[in-house]
Symmetry: C2
Subunit: 198 residues, 2 copies
């Protein structure tokens, strides 16, 4: 990585996005996220990022879009690996979410962050919509009688996955030192239970 002074990146823009994930994964969430810390992580000056992003929010927007894209792919892959039962496939999305966020730090609190709502970034909008579509398709396949119910099933699945993830990140399970895979398994089981009735 050569964190020495004066190193020139080939593609600092891409490196900033990648380093932002690492920064988020270290905890503190959006409020603690700092452009300066990301720059330090790459060994460049704190001014360098502003050549590629006009401000902190635009960098976060790019991170949000990348996360939506990657998460949708991770969820689709997990669903396919889960087999053909629609309920198992949606439940697998919850597990995939836990693993993805534990690895990258970028969950729904980043992807759909309120402070990014006003951002005019079409790429990001498309990717967040595609992520939602991926989830809605999985929910619809379980036999939801209406679109409204599919939405609420997705929200419930997201809530349980995000809840486990959030508690894990906040150190709630820290004393017992439970592994990410164990938490992911519990989230999957809980999400599966949501579909046993209604």
């Amino acid at each position: 990585m050569s964190a020495d002074r004066g190193y020139h990146h080939g593609d600092l823009r891409a490196a900033l996005i990648e380093a932002s994930f690492a920064q988020l994964a270290e905890g503190g969430g959006l409020p603690r996220f700092s452009v300066a810390a990301v720059a330090r992580r790459l060994g460049v000056s704190t001014a360098a990022p502003y050549r590629h992003f006009p401000d902190r929010t635009h960098l976060l927007g790019a991170v949000s879009g990348a996360a939506a894209h990657d998460l949708a792919a991770a969820i689709a892959a997990a669903a396919d690996a889960a087999g053909t039962d629609p309920a198992d496939r949606l439940a697998a999305a919850a597990g995939a979410y836990v693993r993805y966020v534990a690895r990258t730090g970028a969950g729904f609190h980043v992807i759909y962050a309120g402070e990014l709502h006003a951002l005019p970034d079409e790429t990001r909008r498309d990717r967040t919509r595609a992520l939602m579509t991926t989830l809605l398709d999985l929910a619809a396949a379980t036999g939801c009688p209406s679109y409204q119910e599919a939405v609420q099933l997705v929200e419930a699945t997201i809530a349980v996955a995000h809840g486990y993830t959030s508690l894990y990140a906040d150190g709630f399970f820290a004393r017992k030192s439970i592994s990410v895979d164990a938490i992911a398994a519990r989230a999957t089981t809980a999400a599966r239970a949501l579909m046993t009735v209604d």
Copy 2:
């Protein structure tokens, strides 16, 4: 409240804790929590809080203890209001959690925050333990065959409640402007579903 300069509080210590809840309720969570902002809210100098708490962490510890105490009471009340069915009683705890955190901003991410683990505050420890006992008793009453399973049922219930709450606070439901009570109802329904099998 008389936010003018020079006002002397009768009990600034208690006022600081109460104002901290209001501060947390405005969003941003622990990372954004600032002693200076709490002082400003009460119209006192930024130095005043340090007469009552040695540092930011000790103030947060007091808030954590108060929240654990109040939340346990809110959960117990909601369980009693839910009737005699053990599953309904535990599910009601999830709804009570959503309403409590929407009102105060102090959920498990504050009560069990990792940065407070090292704090030697016996009052807080007693209250967080009592909160956990309240939840474990509700879970055990549903017929959990073992202590381990009661713990995991509590964790799942907490996860779903915290997930809804966290997404709500992060603005995930903001566009649809869903009310707190509606979110609480969904959390209750989802928690109830967790108990239909196993």
